[in-house]
Amino acid sequence: MSKLKSTLPNMVLSLGIITILSGLILGVMYSVTKEPIEASARRMQTEALAEVLPPFDNDPEAVMKRVEVDGKQFEIYPAEMDGRSVGAAVKGYSLDGFSGDIVLICGFDNEGNIVNYRVLKQAETPGLGARMELWFRDPTAARSVIGRSPGQSRFIPAKDGGDIDGITAATISSRAFLNIISEAYEVYREFSGDNDFNSSYKDSSTGASPRERH
């Protein structure tokens, strides 16, 4: 078959058919992958929750609460064990990163200490800001935020006078990261209805969960 000549009807027809075909392929592909994509996003969320929360036996996603603080949306996932609150995970975000927004989920126990965190979305510089997922959990370094509470230490990069060593050469990413955790902590404190986590810990050991004492 010889090549089609570049006449107007030929060009319109050829481009039209190619775009319609590719539209069809994309449409089919979209509807085929829609379900698995949603499922994998849900699975990632569930996995992240299991990782950042203390052991729990309820379904935090079913009792998820949305709150808005200063125009920012936060999601709170309360965790319970034997009907007692063991803490909550807070999903927060920041638009102040080096590139794009940073979304992370951070789990707190009843004392307000960070159990674990997980960066769900970031587009920071690879090799620099992108190391936040591992940098702030290094167990051998003093910069680890695991087990610490933003109520007791200042969650600001050491460069800005805080207590946490930021990522080398990625101050903006570090600031944004620590800021999300601080905000998440405030949201969690507000949510648990207590300003002093040491006393809330004693209370919760008697059976009353911070959530019920509003």
């Binding site: 078959m1 010889s2 090549k3 089609l4 000549k5 570049s6 006449t7 030929n10 060009m11 050829s14 481009l15 058919i17 190619i18 775009t19 590719s22 392929i25 994309l26 592909m29 979209y30 085929v32 992958t33 698995p36 994509i37 994998s40 699975r43 990632m44 587009a123 510089t125 690879p126 090799g127 620099l128 080398t168 050469a169």
Partner: protein, 232 residues
């Protein structure tokens, strides 16, 4: 008994190139094999998309901050390149010359989007490390370059082989560049520590280091190619 030595003397003789000419089928097969091997090899070293043709520099410089990132970007690009080359060569007679560029771009963008959807749906682990690079493939000159220079003029199988060759060349170049930058910048290669991170030169992880490392790699590759050309 007399026929046995006769066969024995004839069979090894067939392996000589001069005798291939007298066997049309063997000659044909041999020629095809050589042609495709040449095509494959051509994309890897003599016409390497990154080091020699200097195509797709945006993706090359932007994504090679570590060896793993480079490898991932290379694999994704190679996959799309093989598919788009095949599709373009299949449709080449149906695409009038004056609208060939928009047609090629639509074909390439379709494959990239299909790949992105498929990876997000079925390979979430891969998506976490590769996801942000995939949309970049659409604007990669290598794809359009190969569609225009090769697939639009050649048969389907030759185009697939050409896509494979260029794809392997691209993977090789990006992985090498990523490894060099990761090693000089952080002291790691593929995440494995070679020397302490404190001795790393941070600039190599950043954009300026990409240009410096790529410049030196291109110089080294050109020198090696020059030596080879002299030797021949």
């Amino acid at each position: 008994m007399t026929s046995i030595p006769h066969i024995r003397t004839r069979r090894p003789a067939l392996r000589h190139v001069s005798d291939i000419n007298s066997h049309p089928l063997k000659y044909y097969r041999h020629k095809i094999k050589v042609k495709y091997l040449k095509l494959l090899y051509n994309g890897i070293i003599p016409a390497n998309p990154v080091f020699v043709l200097l195509l797709g520099m945006c993706a090359t410089l932007g994504t090679t901050s570590s060896a793993m990132n480079g490898l991932m970007m290379g694999v994704a690009t190679a996959a799309v390149l093989v598919c788009s080359n095949a599709a373009v060569s299949m449709l080449k007679n149906l695409i009038p010359d004056k609208v060939r560029i928009p047609a090629y771009i639509v074909i390439i963008a379709t494959f990239v989007t299909v790949l992105q959807l498929a990876i997000t749906a079925w390979m979430p682990a891969l998506n976490a490390s590769l996801g942000i690079f995939i949309p970049l493939i659409v604007v990669n000159c290598i794809l359009l370059g190969r569609a225009e220079a090769f697939a639009g003029k050649n048969g389907v199988i030759a185009s697939i082989v050409d896509g494979l060759g260029c794809g392997i060349g691209f993977i090789f170049a990006l992985t090498l560049l990523g490894a060099v930058r990761e090693f000089l910048g952080t002291g790691h290669i593929f995440g494995i520590e070679v020397f302490g991170e404190d001795y790393g030169m941070l600039i190599f992880v950043l954009a300026p280091g990409a240009f410096i490392a790529l410049g030196y790699l291109i110089a080294i590759v050109s020198r090696l190619r020059g030596l080879r050309a002299q030797g021949q």
